[in-house]
């Protein structure tokens, strides 16, 4: 098994009822869930997936779709009817209870929807519970629990009882208990569903931070799509016991596997989920800085746009030139595009759409999407941004790169080019047009 796979589920079935094995067999032979419903409830049907180490894997689905049953099979709280589960290298579906307890102590802990704290124990004692079970001495486990309690922002509350805390704080204790156990994998079953929206947002952000800091593998269950989109590196969508799609948040949004998923994602807050990378287009109006103003002007004429991106060696993004400035330069006989370069803010590919609106309006130009080394990856014209935000289907063909039509007519440009034909030699060769025609 691959080192980087933390949790692997293979053909998992769970059937509640009188004849679970038979139901599972018939389901695997192609029977539908309804056909076998008289014999038992098929809570999970043929679920297979792999969760990579350090990943936040979200399982999303409506109530009753089998999410809780699925996650409980990952730590053996529910025994699968068939199929195997492997956690950090140990196949837990065929081991003894004692071995299973060891796996739970060492490798996989859990955060519960209704917190499930021990009401008769203090915050610190709750946080230390996992270590207590592992047989760690009191002094050490208190010290270790104390560190985690502080990490989740509960310093000063160590000696309170759970009932003295607000819901959000109680769940921080739940999180602290799971983190203190220092397992590689964290299972979270609707961990934030019982919290107020604001607290929930705060907890989601904190979880992402903690994950980045501690590098835990997290399997997170939710019925809330926005939560799934915010947290998930990858998302599995469940319906009636089956996993109907696994993919990145963007895959799920932009390429739903079926109508069910499409419907599910309809009311998602796209502005926060979709990123620049998912809506950007190839930058077709793009010229090399060394190719000179005449070439830039010709490109603008051919593409009928009022500006082009200027790139350096290796498509390093340098800026934008506008048609009027280039025209002036051509007429004046100058050759360096750098003199008229404008530098509107470029954005990184993982910027959420919500953060693109302001730069887009400010510059009045298409946004350049640039990776961390400064390379131009693509562009987002304002119409594209608006279409994505407005939940309008994105057209597949390339939208003209500049939204504002060229302010110079073709004739103006052609005339200028002919008049100044002598200067052409100064610049390089053909203009480059990237991407699609």
């Amino acid at each position: 098994m691959n080192e980087s796979i933390a949790v692997q589920a293979k053909n998992l079935y769970k059937v509640f009822g009188k004849k679970p094995k038979e139901v599972a067999r018939r389901l695997s032979e192609g029977a539908s869930r309804d056909e076998v419903s008289a014999l038992g409830t098929a809570a999970v049907i043929d679920a297979s997936f792999e969760v990579k180490t350090g990943e936040i894997f979200v399982v999303m689905g409506l109530s009753g779709s089998g999410k809780s049953t699925l996650i409980r099979m990952l730590n053996g709280l529910v025994e699968p009817t068939s199929g195997t589960v492997t956690v950090v290298g140990t196949t837990i579906t065929d081991i003894s209870q004692a071995e299973l307890r060891r796996v739970r102590q060492k490798s996989v802990s859990m955060v519960f929807q209704h917190f499930a704290l021990l009401p008769h124990r203090t915050v610190l004692e709750n946080a230390a519970f996992g270590l207590e079970v592992q047989g760690i001495a009191p002094v050490e486990r208190r010290a270790r629990a104390q560190r985690v309690v502080e990490l989740v922002g509960l310093a000063g509350w160590e000696d309170k009882l759970p009932r003295q805390l607000s819901g959000g704080m109680q769940q921080r204790v739940g999180l602290a208990r799971a983190l203190t156990a220092e397992t590689d994998v964290l299972l979270m079953d609707e961990a934030f569903s019982a919290l107020d929206p604001l607290i929930r947002r705060e907890m989601q952000e904190q979880l992402v931070e903690l994950q980045a800091e501690l590098g835990k593998t997290i399997i997170f269950i939710t019925h809330d799509l926005n939560e799934a989109m915010f947290l998930g590196d990858r998302i599995a969508v469940m319906r009636d016991g089956r996993i109907v799609q696994v993919g990145s948040p963007e895959d799920i949004l932009t390429d739903p596997a079926n109508d069910y998923v499409a419907q599910f994602v309809q009311d998602v807050d796209r502005a926060r989920v979709l990123t620049a990378a998912s809506v950007m287009e190839p930058a077709s109006a793009e010229v090399s800085v060394t190719s000179g103003p005449r070439n830039a002007l010709r490109t603008m004429r051919d593409l009928q746009s009022s500006a082009v991106f200027v790139v350096g060696r290796g498509r390093q993004y340098l800026g934008v030139v506008r048609d009027r400035d280039v025209m002036r330069q051509v007429k004046a006989g100058e050759t360096d595009l750098r003199d008229i370069l404008r530098k509107p803010q470029a954005v990184s590919p993982d910027t959420p759409l919500v953060d693109l609106v302001e730069p887009s309006i400010e510059s009045g130009l298409p946004l350049a999407v640039v990776n961390e080394t400064g390379k131009l990856l693509g562009t987002i014209p304002r119409v594209t941004l608006l279409a994505a935000l407005g939940n309008v289907p994105l057209t597949t063909q390339s939208i003209p790169i500049m939204e504002s039509p060229s302010r110079l007519t073709r004739r103006d440009i052609s005339e200028a080019l002919t008049e100044t034909v002598g200067y052409e030699a100064a610049a390089g060769t053909e203009h480059r047009t990237g991407g699609r025609a």
Binding site: R102, F112, L117, L118, P119, V133, Q134
Partner: protein, 304 residues
């Protein structure tokens, strides 16, 4: 199916000799386990004698001070004061020694009943089969008129305090088992799951999660066991267990209203004091913020 109206009152055709079978069974048990019953008898007797000695030997005021302090500690100063006044009334009715014999019997019987009902309740909570088997037996034990098992108790343990204890234990055990089972079964499933999810063994889950969270229910059971034990004192008196029950039985035989009332009011005083003390104990043991053990005699709560 019946042959005649006559057979309704005296039926020789369909007479099921259930009684004879039970008698035969008791006979068999008596003969086969004589040794065991002798051991049980001396054990219970020793327990009773020890407790009785501790209550009767010191001067009455010393015992009253100890009990009142305990009541104060467990509940409130008001109960402490009430205990002093109530027990002084018992002394003034000349029932002190009897009341202490009864108290000893109640304490020993309750302790045995609780010691038996806790593990049974735990077992019933963990196994549905056990629960199904235990439940009808408990119903039988609690509803069968207590006099009925006084008879085998007398045969097995001879006259005296021991058959009284045994009959009391059998009669009073049921709520202990039931409320222990109920308490454990109604512990939040997610909290138990949390224990499992962190790799705790079933024993640890029982000790650290289920029993502490079931405490309110278990303490309510303890309270009821004690109250039911006290309600058996008269019947215990009939088999010569002594104490207040003895005087009640005697007053019944001689139609002595005065003696009957004085013994009766002493039982009531003991009952109230014990009830309030166990309710206070329940509230102390319970730290989960759930309602404390219910009381047989709910008085308004003076403080929280």
């Amino acid at each position: 199916m019946r042959g005649s109206v006559m057979s309704l009152t005296s039926n020789d055709l369909f007479r099921l000799p259930l009684g004879r079978w039970v008698e035969a069974a008791v006979d068999w048990v008596t003969h086969s386990f004589t040794g065991l019953f002798t051991v049980i008898r001396s054990l219970f007797l020793a327990l009773y004698d020890a407790v009785d000695w501790a209550l009767v030997t010191p001067p009455f005021w010393a015992v009253i001070i100890v009990l009142a302090t305990l009541a104060w500690y467990l509940s409130s100063w008001k109960l402490g004061l009430g205990t002093v006044l109530g027990l002084l009334l018992v002394v003034s009715l000349n029932q002190w020694a009897n009341a202490m014999h009864t108290l000893a019997l109640v304490l020993v019987a309750s302790a045995i009943a609780i010691a038996l009902s806790l593990p049974l309740g735990i077992w019933a909570a963990r196994s549905t089969v056990a629960s199904r088997v235990i439940r009808p037996i408990l119903d039988l034990m609690q509803t069968m008129p207590a006099f009925v098992y006084l008879i085998p108790a007398l045969i097995l343990f001879r006259v005296g305090v021991v058959p009284g204890i045994v009959a009391t234990v059998i009669f009073a055990m049921a709520p202990g088992v039931r409320l222990t089972e109920l308490g454990i079964r109604s512990v939040d499933r997610e909290v138990v799951e949390a224990g499992q999810a962190f790799g705790a063994s079933p024993g640890r889950i029982l000790r650290q999660i289920q029993l502490p969270l079931a405490m309110p229910s278990i303490m309510a059971g303890v309270n009821q066991v004690i109250m039911l034990s006290l309600s058996m004192v008269v019947i215990a008196g009939m088999v010569g267990a002594g104490g207040l029950g003895n005087d009640v039985v005697a007053s019944l035989q001689t139609i002595d209203v005065a003696l009957g009332f004085e013994a009766g009011i002493s039982v009531v005083i003991l009952a109230i004091v014990l009830d309030r003390m166990t309710a206070g104990l329940g509230a102390r043991v319970v730290t989960t913020g759930q309602p404390a053990a219910s009381s047989f005699f709910p008085l308004e709560k003076e403080n929280t």
